[in-house]
């Protein structure tokens, strides 16, 4: 069946739109053209690859969990409380979105590093040293990815009609019960979207991680770092790992999108 292009779209837009699509698609074509299909299984099960996959999955999931536990409350406060300097706090929350991740990683190092303003007393008191550790990767990911969660949940909470929560209270539900049975279910689409974006951002994080946590295989070398290292040494490994990331990310984003539309 032939689909006609609606008259409301100028022909030039179709051409330019096609070019835009090419911008997204061409790198993928390049990647696919270099993929060593025959050795793919072997490449993806190498030590370096398996360590990187394990680390990427565990740190991105942990970062999403931390971002949820901390970010959802922050989103609620931003959406519902009015206090002096709220716009500054809001700006601070979005800073990691525009800051070069390397700068973020360096800033984290100054704050949480062994000699950092918080890191030094923390290390002295508890022996916990964040940089160049698994938790360091998680901390860098949280810093970079949490804005997605906060922004998405804050918007949803602000648009939520607070009278539903009042209605729930008159029906005998206490504050936590209202949160669990009314507020969270009602903002669920935005919460899930925020979670997925946060996870995806953490999964692909490179700059802040390499600066703050380094690239130690088996300890802090996540998939993006492994790709970067492999580009210098073993290009086929780099291509295989890149392809893996593309596939995983696409699956998550596409399924999120269809899920999102179902709930509109």
């Amino acid at each position: 069946m032939r689909r006609r292009i609606p008259a409301s779209i100028p022909a030039l837009f179709v051409v330019f739109g096609g070019l835009a699509l090419a911008v997204f698609a061409l790198p993928l074509v390049g990647l696919l053209s270099r993929t060593p299909w025959r050795d793919l299984a072997g490449l993806l099960t190498s030590d370096v690859a398996r360590d990187a996959v394990r680390l990427s999955v565990s740190t991105s999931v942990a970062a999403t969990a931390v971002a949820t536990v901390l970010g959802v409350p922050l989103a609620f406060v931003l959406a519902r409380a009015s206090f002096v300097g709220r716009s500054i706090v809001r700006g601070l929350v979005t800073l990691p979105l525009v800051l070069p991740p390397v700068v973020g990683g360096a800033a984290l190092l100054f704050a949480l590093g062994r000699r950092g303003v918080v890191g030094e007393p923390l290390a002295d008191a508890t022996g916990i040293v964040l940089p160049f550790s698994w938790w360091g990767v998680v901390a860098a990911n949280v810093f970079i990815a949490m804005p997605f969660l906060v922004i998405s949940v804050e918007g949803a909470v602000r648009n939520l009609d607070g009278r539903y929560e009042g209605a729930a209270a008159t029906l005998g539900a206490g504050r936590w019960e209202v949160l669990r049975r009314v507020t969270l279910p009602m903002i669920r689409p935005s919460l899930v979207a925020g979670l997925a974006l946060t996870w995806a951002r953490a999964f692909g994080e490179f700059g802040a991680t390499v600066t703050f946590a380094g690239s130690l295989q088996g300890r802090t070398q996540t998939l993006p770092l492994a790709v970067f290292v492999a580009l210098e040494s073993d290009r086929e490994v780099a291509v295989a790992l890149s392809l893996l990331m593309v596939v995983v990310s696409l699956v998550v984003l596409v399924s999120l999108r269809s899920w999102w539309w179902r709930f509109r």
Binding site: R163, A169, A173, V182, R188
Partner: protein, 346 residues
């Protein structure tokens, strides 16, 4: 044990002040009647605990819910609210909405189904609120409030969002369930018909304070403010129709509709009533002899209240009032055409 005793004083952010007292007995329906912006919804929020009092107190069944020293959270107040636009939780089915406030967790679903059946919606248990009509959503909201076993029932403009036809049917459903609810019931409304037909007593709220308290007849026949006078402006009766006439408390009015039968609400506009010194000629008409009880000028018109057998509010021009030499105690004939008697089922 007493029902609800409250003195509400709330100052809103916009400077509006609500300051009113109310007292409701068990088994009594009281209407809080007032125009938009009178503070009715603020009163609901204060009673339900969604807004704290600035001064005053709320005592329900001997338990202080709000005062200078006490503030009971809304979830512990046991006040059932039917909200103006129902506020059914959109992510829960009708049954889950009703089950929300059922205290016995194990019997939630069972109790919800029972309540839905009582409002005639058992077959819609698994429908989402978005797929319910206004009347159905209203009944789910009523069932939800009642299922939480409240001690006080608050209805905030329960019929306002419905179309006219559904409103009449829902008024009957509401009246039935109000009567079955043992505690005090407070009906918030801007519609005098709703107040007159559903409430035992009426509190008139204007600009944050009560301007008149009384039965429907008190309000209707002796309005104390301009707003009440305008509200009461229409003569409203409840009666039983049969073959072209309506029996309103012993007095029979001829009506134009010969097929309507059963309980009805009858309205006669004050300007539809004519006043004569001798029996007017011509039929078919509702004509009876009575006396002028009260006479008050409203601009270039005059409002009369006539006495037994069927007290009416009548509006005539100041000119004819002078021409007829009307004054309190003057015997007159009043006439209403059958076509001017408006009859609604319900």
């Amino acid at each position: 044990m007493s029902g609800l005793e409250a003195h509400l004083r709330v100052r809103r952010d916009d400077g509006f002040v609500l300051d009113m007292s109310l007292s409701l007995d068990h088994g009594e329906t009281v209407a809080l009647l007032g125009p938009n912006g009178a503070g009715k919804s603020t009163a609901v929020s204060a009673l339900a605990g969604l807004v704290p009092l600035d001064e005053g107190e709320i005592v329900l069944g001997g338990r202080t819910l709000d005062s200078q020293d006490v503030f009971v959270r809304p979830d512990l107040r046991r006040i059932g609210v039917v909200f103006q636009d129902y506020l059914l939780f959109p992510h829960l089915t009708a049954a889950e909405n009703v089950a929300f406030g059922v205290r016995d967790r194990k019997r939630r679903r069972e109790a919800a189904i029972t309540w839905l059946a009582r409002v005639g919606l058992a077959d819609l248990a698994d429908h989402m609120p978005g797929s319910l009509s206004g009347g159905q959503a209203q009944r789910v909201a009523l069932a939800r409030a009642l299922a939480s076993a409240p001690e006080l029932l608050l209805l905030d403009e329960p019929l306002a969002a419905l179309d006219v036809r559904t409103r009449l049917a829902m008024r009957r459903v509401l009246s039935e369930h109000l009567r079955a609810f043992p505690g005090p019931r407070l009906l918030i409304t801007h519609d005098p018909t709703e107040a007159f037909t559903l409430a035992d007593r009426i509190l008139v709220l204007e600009a944050g304070s009560l301007t008149q308290v009384g039965t429907a007849d008190d309000i209707r026949l002796r309005p104390r403010t301009r707003y009440v006078a305008e509200l009461a402006g229409s003569n409203l009766f409840v009666g039983v129709a049969d073959e072209g006439s309506v029996d309103v408390g012993g007095h029979v009015l001829q009506i134009a509709d010969r097929f309507i039968a059963g309980p009805v609400t009858v309205t006669v506009r004050p300007s539809a009533v004519t006043v004569h010194l001798v029996r007017p000629a011509g039929s078919p008409r509702n004509v009876w002899e009575t006396v002028v009880d009260l006479l008050e000028p409203i601009g270039d018109r005059v409002r009369l209240l006539t006495g037994a057998p069927l007290p009416l509010t009548v509006e005539i021009t100041a000119e004819s009032a002078v021409a007829l030499g009307l004054g309190p105690g003057v015997p007159v004939w009043v006439a209403v055409k059958a076509t001017e008697v408006e009859v609604e089922e319900g």
